[in-house]
């Protein structure tokens, strides 16, 4: 009920904004296709067929996106790539959400010295070329799905922590929270009824902005050969494969690259739009 109360204005606004609605629909469509992809295509993503190497996109034999250097169906592999990429991104965003919200809310609510130390740490981490640390991590440890989630989550929580902390700080000083304290509402009630519901909108909005960042990171790692490993694949890994054969079979590069760009574009539009809608001052523009 609290959630619906907070999201109601956002939802109402979303309906007004065409760009946001279109992006949300495209993303839903892409996700649905990817999930249904294995049913739509007669080929499995691992099936190799050396007679059909580098087939350009064709309706014949249902190779809609053509085939790669091992004769695998690119449509099936792209669908898998979308699924993996979205999955990694969503889970990694949840990881960063949990860390970021807990960290930010703690620093913001307790404040004082603890906050100063915690935020100094975030500032310090912000100043780092993070990808290098992630790659270091990937090099040192066995590459696994789990590690990718953790690595990406560990990078992306910083923004969330900053935003949640800022929001908590400003909420804590809001007069309605002070009014609740004067009434004698216990700390638990203040956090549950007064702070959390007002935090939720911001968190949801920023979550839509962390997802594309996570997608970008995952595909970056996979592109470098440090992320998802064969026979699994992701959009980044497919782009990497495509680069190797781009002169011979440009569709191997263009198809996954376009899909990846489209997904990122939609998420960024969605996140931007939601942020503007939830912040009336920005929305005026």
């Amino acid at each position: 009920m609290i959630i619906s109360a907070v999201l109601r204005p956002v939802v109402r606004q979303v309906r007004k904004s065409r760009a946001v609605t279109v992006c949300a629909l495209i993303l839903l469509f892409v996700a649905a296709i990817a999930i249904a992809g294995s049913i739509l295509s007669p080929h499995a993503y691992v099936d190799t067929n050396f007679d059909n190497r580098f087939l350009s996109p064709t309706f014949a034999d249902a190779h809609l996106f053509g085939t790669d250097n091992l004769g695998r169906d690119l449509f099936a592999r792209t669908m898998l790539g979308i699924k993996v990429t979205l999955l990694v991104a969503v889970i990694a965003s949840v990881v960063s959400l949990v860390i970021g919200v807990l960290y930010g809310a703690l620093a913001g609510y307790i404040g004082g010295k603890l906050d100063a130390v915690m935020m100094r740490a975030v500032d310090a981490l912000y100043a780092l070329p993070f990808i290098f640390f992630v790659i270091l991590l990937m090099v040192v440890f066995e590459q696994s799905f789990m590690l990718i989630f953790i690595a990406i989550g560990a990078v992306n929580w910083l923004d969330m922590a900053r935003i949640v902390r800022g929001q908590t700080m400003s909420l804590k000083q809001k007069e309605f929270v002070e009014a609740a304290r004067v009434i004698g509402v216990p700390t638990r009630g203040i956090i549950l009824r007064h702070i959390t519901p007002n935090l939720l909108g911001v968190v949801v909005v920023y979550m839509t902005l962390t997802i594309p960042q996570a997608i970008l990171l995952e595909s970056f790692l996979s592109f470098l050969g440090l992320g998802v490993q064969e026979p699994q694949t992701s959009l980044g890994a497919l782009v990497n494969d495509g680069v190797g054969h781009m002169e011979q079979a440009p569709w191997l590069l263009v198809v996954p690259a376009t899909v990846l760009a489209l997904i990122l574009l939609c998420f960024n539009f969605l996140g931007d739009g939601l942020r503007d809608l939830s912040d009336p001052k920005r929305a005026v523009r």
Partner: protein, 307 residues
């Protein structure tokens, strides 16, 4: 102001130490030693190798050794490039990377700021929509997509520019790497500039200036540019980190022997000391540049400066 500068400088030192410690510990927390995956060696050879790389010492001892080496500019030997210390590899490869990165940053600043200013001044007109649309594309399409596709387009199909570093010479081989490296930063800078310029143009003091009969050119030059570009200053740190990250891809795609390509080779070869050395090297650069930006920020804000 002096106090401000001092606290900032002193604040950077623990950051640096913690960063080095984390990177160092990460490598040494690895399950198994760096040579586990190679062929089985006789015990005495293994011991010799361990002694050569000081793997027989305790972790704190190794850390202190590493730190003192660091102070002398020594990042230890590389595991995969025998006889090449890590610092030597970096010293050889960095000038090229720095050259690329600097050019890309300059391009990003010039193009991003101009595009952002034009968009803000022509808000809601065609030029504005073009800039915001292009910028959205720029932040959404990753470097590792733009780089190979532009090679395909400009080098393979159109044959205007060389496809790789070694395949061309002079300025022509610089164009594609520098532009693709700069593109995402151009996009972010343009968006930032536009947003903050619009904020400033809507501010009360710009309204005052308009009421005083100042023309648009005067308002922009005299009142708006300085405050509008301030948020950009705090983005410079992340921008530098972004360019360094992008250079890894760019050097890989264009076959440039810069620090980034050594980093990736090191990563794929599991060359711990090389990867660790480059990570720390880049962290130091980014922290130092951030510190410089911080001090500049203080210098440009009358409220901080006049204390």
């Amino acid at each position: 102001m002096l106090r401000y500068a001092l606290t900032r400088i002193l604040g950077a030192i623990p950051t640096l130490l913690i960063v080095i410690a984390i990177a160092f510990l990460m490598v040494h927390a690895a399950p198994g030693g760096p040579f586990d995956s190679e062929r089985v060696l006789p015990p005495d050879v293994e011991q010799n190798i361990a002694r050569y790389y000081h793997l027989d010492e305790s972790l704190p001892q190794q850390f202190v050794r590493y730190l003192s080496g660091l102070l002398r500019g020594d990042l230890g030997p590389s595991y995969s490039y025998r006889d090449y210390p890590v610092s030597r590899i970096i010293a050889d490869a960095f000038p090229l990377s720095m050259w690329l990165g600097t050019l890309a940053m300059l391009l990003a600043l010039v193009a991003g700021i101009s595009a952002g200013l034009v968009a803000a001044l022509k808000k809601n007109t065609l030029p504005d929509r073009l800039v915001t649309g292009a910028a959205m594309l720029g932040i959404s399409v990753p470097v590792f997509v733009v780089a190979p596709i532009s090679v395909l387009l400009f080098a393979v199909y159109l044959d205007w520019l060389p496809a790789s570093w070694t395949g061309g010479d002079g300025w022509s081989r610089l164009v594609l790497p520098v532009v693709t490296l700069a593109l995402p930063q151009i996009a972010v800078i343009a968006r930032l500039t536009r947003a903050s310029m619009i904020d400033v143009l809507a501010s009360d003091y710009v309204r005052t200036a308009r009421a005083q009969g100042l023309g648009t050119a005067s308002i922009v030059r005299f009142h708006a540019v300085k405050p509008a570009l301030r948020p950009l200053l705090s983005y410079l740190g992340p921008a530098i980190a972004g360019v360094l990250t992008g250079s890894v891809v760019i050097e890989e795609v264009f076959g440039i022997n810069g620090v980034g390509s050594f980093f990736i080779q090191g990563a794929l070869n599991r060359d711990y000391t090389l990867v660790l050395g480059i990570t720390i090297f880049y962290a130091v650069i980014v922290i130092a540049l951030n510190l410089a930006v911080d001090l500049l920020y203080g210098l440009l804000d009358p409220r901080v400066r006049t204390r």
